[in-house]
C-alpha cells in the first residue's frame, strides 16, 4: 500500500534523528542472509564510503552524522577543546552512552584530521577487547591513477573486508557468490543514486513541492536503513511529487556549499527557506551522491568497478584533492552545478573550525563572483540554536537578488517547465 506524503515524511523524520539507531538494530536481529551469514552493522563517518561493499557482505552501513541539536553533549565535550568542531563531540557522546552498542564495525573515511584522530580515539576507548568492533581509518587515495591510487584503494577496501570477516569470525564468501552479491549491491545503490537525482531534478523545477527540510529528512533517513527500503521510499515519494502540491513563492534559488560533514541544524535549513530561498542543491548528505552516475554493473570484477567509480566519477569536495576529477576545478564544477540547477546564488554554510570547507571558501567565493554568481557565507555548529542574524543576512541576500539585481532578465529562478505549463497562472 502506498504511504501518504505526510506518512513518508514523518517516517523519515523519525529515522533521520533516531540517535539510538533502533531501525538498524532491529534489522540486525533478522535472519541470516543467504550466502553472506549473520547480519552486522557498520557505522561510518562522513563523507563517503563504498556502501556497496558492506551491503554485499550482508551488513548494513549506517551513517553516523553527529547528534545535531538533539542530544545534550556532556562526555563528548570533555574530550575536545573549544576550537574543535562539534561533530566528534556528538559521536563520542554516542559511543560512550552506549548508543553504538551492537555496531560491529566503524569506518572513518579520510576527510580531515579530526575524523582521522577520532578513529584513534575509538581504538583507545575499545582497547584490546577481543569482542570489540572492527575500527578502520579508510584512507581514500588522493592519487587517481588506476595503477597507483586505484591499486592502493583496492587494498584498502580489501582490508575492510578482511577486518570485518575476522571480527565476525566468518570465512570469505565464495568467489562466485561474492561477485553476484556485489553486483546486486551495486545495482541497488545505482538505483538509489538515480532516484535521488530524479527527485533532486524535480525539486529543481518545483521546489515548493518538497521543502529542503523534508528532503533532508528523506536523505538522512536513508543512511540508517537498508538501501532496498530507501529505494521504496524514494519511489513512492517521486510518484507523489509528480503531482502538484504546495504553492510557489517568490523565492530566490540557492545552492548550499560547505556542509558536507557536520550537518546544519534543521532550524538553520528552515531559516534559509523562510528568509526567501529555495535550496535547489546542497552537499548535506554528499556521501549518498558521491559517485556521479552509475558504478558499472554486472562485471566479473565488481570490486574493480567500485574502485574505478571512485577514481573516475567522484563528485567534487573539499576532502578530495582538486586534481582528482577530470572534469574541471572545484570552481568550475560548482559553477556548473549552479547553472544546471538554475540557481541565483550560492550560500557558503560551513561548520565552525572546519578547515577543509573554510579553506576552500575564499577561492570558491572569488571564482563564483568572477563568474557573476552571487554568494554569501556564514558559519554554524550542528547545535546552533539562534538563527536571527543568519535570517537577516540571508534575507538581505535574497532581497538583493530579487529587488536590485542589475540584470533581472538573466535570473534563472523561474523554472522553464513552469513557464511552459503556465502553472503559476
Amino acid at each position: 500500500m502506498q504511504r501518504t506524503f505526510e506518512a513518508l515524511i514523518s517516517e523519515c523524520e523519525h529515522l533521520a534523528f533516531d540517535l539510538q539507531f533502533s531501525h538498524a538494530k532491529a534489522w540486525k536481529k533478522g535472519p541470516s542472509i543467504v550466502g553472506a551469514g549473520d547480519r552486522f552493522l557498520a557505522g561510518y563517518l562522513p563523507i563517503y564510503i563504498p556502501r556497496e561493499i558492506i551491503h554485499a557482505m550482508g551488513g548494513l552501513p549506517v551513517g553516523i552524522m553527529g547528534t545535531g541539536d538533539r542530544m545534550q553533549i556532556i562526555k563528548g565535550d570533555a574530550y575536545y577543546q573549544s576550537y574543535i568542531c562539534h561533530l566528534p563531540r556528538g559521536v563520542v557522546e554516542l559511543a560512550l552512552s552506549g548508543a553504538l552498542a551492537d555496531f560491529d564495525a566503524f569506518i572513518f573515511p579520510s576527510i580531515c584530521d579530526v575524523v582521522r584522530n577520532l578513529s584513534g580515539m575509538f581504538q583507545i576507548f575499545q582497547g584490546d577487547d577481543p569482542a570489540g568492533a572492527f575500527i578502520k581509518y579508510l584512507d581514500l587515495p588522493q592519487n587517481f591513477a588506476p595503477g597507483v591510487g586505484g591499486t592502493y584503494y583496492r587494498q584498502e577496501i580489501q582490508s575492510v573486508i578482511d577486518g570485518i570477516q575476522k571480527r565476525r569470525s566468518s570465512s570469505p564468501i565464495q568467489e562466485a557468490v561474492w561477485v553476484e552479491r556485489l553486483n546486486e549491491s551495486i545495482r541497488l545503490y545505482n538505483e538509489n543514486r538515480t532516484r535521488i537525482e530524479r527527485i533532486a531534478t524535480l525539486r529543481q523545477e518545483f521546489p515548493w513541492r518538497l521543502s529542503a527540510v523534508e528532503w533532508y529528512h528523506v536523505l538522512r533517513a536513508g543512511l540508517a536503513m537498508p538501501v532496498e527500503e530507501h529505494n521504496n521510499i524514494l519511489y513512492e515519494l517521486e510518484a507523489v511529487l509528480l503531482e502538484e502540491r504546495g504553492r510557489p513563492l517568490d523565492n530566490i534559488r540557492v545552492v548550499i556549499s560547505g556542509a558536507f560533514c557536520e550537518q546544519p541544524p534543521i532550524g538553520l535549513i528552515k531559516t534559509i527557506e523562510m528568509a526567501g530561498c529555495y535550496i535547489v542543491d546542497d552537499d548535506f548528505m554528499l556521501g549518498s551522491r558521491w559517485i556521479e552516475g552509475d558504478v558499472a554493473e554486472g562485471t566479473s570484477d565488481p570490486l574493480g568497478a567500485v574502485v574505478d567509480a571512485y577514481l573516475q566519477h567522484s563528485t567534487f569536495s573539499a576532502s578530495l584533492y582538486e586534481a582528482a576529477p577530470a572534469s574541471g576545478s572545484k570552481v568550475e564544477r560548482l559553477t556548473a552545478l549552479v547553472q544546471r540547477r538554475k540557481a541565483d546564488g550560492v550560500i557558503f554554510a560551513a561548520p565552525s573550525f572546519c578547515d577543509p570547507a573554510l579553506l576552500d571558501r575564499p577561492e570558491l567565493q572569488l571564482g563564483l563572483e568572477r563568474a557573476g554568481i552571487r554568494t554569501i557565507g556564514f558559519q554554524y555548529s550542528e547545535n546552533t540554536g539562534q538563527f536571527k542574524v543568519i535570517k537577516e543576512e540571508v534575507g538581505a541576500f535574497s532581497d538583493s537578488i530579487k529587488l536590485w539585481d542589475s540584470e533581472p532578465d538573466t535570473r534563472m529562478w523561474l523554472p522553464t517547465v513552469l513557464e511552459e505549463s503556465n502553472v503559476i497562472a
Binding site: A78, Y79, Y80, Q81, Y83, I84, A95, S97, G98, L100, A101, D102, F103, F106, C112, D113, V114, R116, N117, L118, S119, G120, F122, Q123, I124, F125, Q126, G127, D128, D129, G132, A133, K136, Y137, D139, Q142, N143, A145, G147, V148, T151, Y152, Q155, S319, Y321, E322, A323, S352, F353, D355, P356, L358, L359, D360, R361, P362, E363, Q365, L366, Q379
Partner: protein, 474 residues
C-alpha cells in the same frame, strides 16, 4: 663580568635584555647553523639569476634528499610563518588573509603564508622570496597541507604540483602495500615532475649519497637528544630543541654540511653533559633543574621568549617533546636506507610524528616520560593544528591513568598573537609546578613503570557495551 654561552640567535634580544653585561661566546654549532641558513636564503634570493629551481614543500614528510639530488632549493612555508611569528609580525599578515576571505577559525600558518604572498612574498629576512617552480605537496600527517597547496595553486597559476599522498599509519604499522603506493607515486609523478622542472635526469646514485649523509645526521641527532636522559639535562629538548632541529627541517637533511653541524652539536652537548651542567636559557645557564617535563604539541612562536621564561623561571626543563619529531622520528630506530632510496623515503614519511595513530602517540609519549625520568607531562594545545590537537585530551587522560604522572594542559596558537594569553598560561603552569612540587615532597620522583590506575584501554572498554555496564565492570 659573567660569561655565558650565547642563546640561540633568535633569542638575541633576550641576551641584550639581561641585567648584567655578558660576554657572549658563540658555540661553533651556532656559527655553522647561521652560515647554513644564511647561505640558503642567499641562494633563494639569487635563484632567478643563477637559474636554480625553487621547490615549495612541507616539513613533515619532506623529501630533502630528493630535492638536493636535483640541485633544487627548498622553501618551507611553515618555517617562513613561524619566523614571522618570532619576529612578531605574523599578526598583520594573518589579518590581511582574513580580509581576503579566510576564516578566523582556520590554520594560521596558512593565513600567514597567504598574507605574505599578498604583501609581495617578502620573507622573514626582509628579502623577497622567489616564486615556486614546483609545488611539492608532501601530504603527510596533516590534511590542511592539501588545502594549503590547493590555495597556492590558485596564487601561483601554472606552477606544476607534484602530489605525494602519504598513507596514514592508522593501525600502528607500515605495510608493504603502503610503501609500494608511495614508491609508485614517487616514480610516476614526483620524480618525473622534478626532472621536468629541473631539467635534470634523476640520478639514483646521487640520491643515495645524500641519504648516506642523512643517516649520519640522524645518528648524531638521536645521540644528542639521548643526552637529555641525564639528570640534569644538558639542554632543553623543546625550546632549544626546535632550534637544533632547524637544519634537518629546513632542507639540510642529506647535506654534508648537516653532518658537520650535528656532529659538532653533539660534541658540545656531550661536553655539557659530561660536566653535569644544566641547560642554557636566554638569561644564562639555568641554576637548578627542578622539574623535568615531556611536552606534546608545537610551541607558540609569537611569544616564544615569554613562553620559555615561564618554564625556566621555575627551573623546568623539557627533556623530550613530540614536536621535535614532526620532521622525522629517528629515536625509534628508523634511518634512511641508501640501498633502498625510494622505499626509504616512503617509510620516512609514514613514520613522522603527525602521521602515526593516536594509540601510538600515547605509547611514544609514555616511553618518553619513563625513559627520560620526567616529573610531569604537559600539552600545549594549538588552536591552529587539528592534526596535533584533536584527541589530545584523551592522550593526557591515558597517560595520567597509565603512569600516575602529573599532567597539565595549556592552549595557545602557532603564529596568531591573539591566542596567546599570558595570564591564563601562567596560572595553569603555576598550578602544574605546585602539583609536581607537592608530589616530590610527598614521594620523591614518580616511580616509573607502576600503573596506578588502569587506562581506558586496559579496562577493555568496549563500544559494544552500554556505558553503565562498563562502569559496573570498572
Amino acid at each position: 663580568m659573567s660569561k655565558i654561552v650565547a642563546p640561540p640567535p633568535f633569542l638575541k634580544s633576550a641576551a641584550k635584555a639581561a641585567a648584567k653585561p655578558i660576554e657572549v661566546v658563540k658555540e661553533r654549532s651556532m656559527l655553522l647553523q647561521k652560515q647554513m641558513l644564511g647561505d640558503l636564503f642567499h641562494d633563494l634570493t639569487t635563484a632567478k639569476d643563477t637559474g636554480r629551481k625553487v621547490v615549495y614543500t612541507f616539513v613533515p614528510g619532506n623529501l630533502s634528499e630528493l630535492i638536493l639530488a636535483f640541485d633544487m632549493l627548498p622553501v618551507y612555508p611553515e618555517i617562513n610563518a613561524l619566523q614571522w611569528g618570532m619576529r612578531k609580525k605574523s599578526g598583520s599578515l594573518i589579518r590581511d588573509a582574513e580580509k581576503y576571505g579566510y576564516s578566523e577559525d582556520v590554520c594560521t600558518y596558512v593565513k600567514c603564508d597567504v598574507g605574505m604572498f599578498l604583501n609581495g612574498n617578502i620573507g622573514p629576512t626582509g628579502e623577497k622570496l622567489p616564486p615556486p617552480d614546483l609545488l611539492l605537496l608532501s601530504y603527510t600527517g596533516c590534511f590542511t597541507f592539501l588545502k594549503w597547496f590547493e590555495n597556492l595553486q590558485k596564487l601561483y597559476p601554472g606552477v606544476p604540483t607534484a602530489m605525494l599522498h602519504t598513507p596514514y599509519a592508522a593501525d600502528g604499522v607500515i605495510t608493504e602495500d603502503m610503501v609500494k603506493y608511495m614508491v609508485r607515486q614517487l616514480e610516476e609523478d614526483v620524480i618525473p615532475k622534478m626532472e621536468m622542472v629541473s631539467g635534470k635526469k634523476f640520478n639514483p646514485e646521487k640520491l643515495s649519497k645524500h641519504l648516506e649523509y642523512a643517516v649520519e645526521s640522524e645518528d648524531w641527532i638521536v645521540k644528542m637528544f639521548d643526552l637529555t636522559k641525564q639528570v640534569p639535562s644538558p639542554i632543553d629538548a623543546y625550546f632549544a630543541g626546535v632550534y637544533y632541529i632547524g637544519p634537518i627541517n629546513a632542507g639540510f637533511r642529506g647535506a654534508e654540511s648537516a653532518v658537520e653541524y650535528y656532529h659538532q652539536l653533539y660534541l658540545e652537548v656531550a661536553e655539557r653533559a659530561a660536566q653535569g651542567r644544566p641547560p642554557v636559557t636566554p638569561e644564562g645557564e639555568l641554576e637548578e633543574e627542578r622539574f623535568r617535563l615531556v611536552v606534546e604539541g608545537p610551541p607558540n612562536w609569537t611569544h616564544f621568549r615569554e613562553f620559555w621564561k615561564l618554564f625556566y623561571d621555575m627551573g623546568a626543563v623539557v627533556v623530550a617533546s613530540s614536536y621535535t619529531k614532526v620532521g622525522g622520528y629517528f629515536d625509534g630506530g628508523f634511518r634512511h636506507d641508501p640501498d633502498n632510496p625510494l622505499e626509504s623515503l616512503a617509510r620516512y614519511c609514514m613514520g613522522c610524528y603527525t602521521n602515526i595513530s593516536l594509540p601510538e602517540r600515547v605509547n611514544m609519549l609514555e616511553k618518553f616520560i619513563t625513559d627520560y625520568k620526567a616529573d610531569g607531562f604537559l600539552i600545549n594545545s594549538i588552536k591552529s593544528c587539528n592534526s596535533f590537537s584533536a584527541g589530545q585530551l584523551l592522550i593526557m587522560r591515558e597517560l595520567e591513568q597509565r603512569l600516575g604522572v602529573p599532567v597539565s594542559f595549556i592552549e595557545s596558537d602557532l603564529v596568531d598573537p591573539r591566542y596567546f594569553s599570558y595570564a591564563n598560561i601562567k596560572n595553569r603552569l603555576d598550578s602544574f609546578f605546585q602539583m609536581m612540587d607537592q608530589r616530590k615532597q610527598v614521594g620523591g620522583r614518580h616511580q616509573f613503570g607502576q600503573r596506578p590506575h588502569d587506562s581506558a584501554s586496559s579496562q577493555k572498554r568496549s563500544l559494544l557495551l552500554p556505558v553503565l555496564q562498563q562502569e559496573a565492570m570498572v
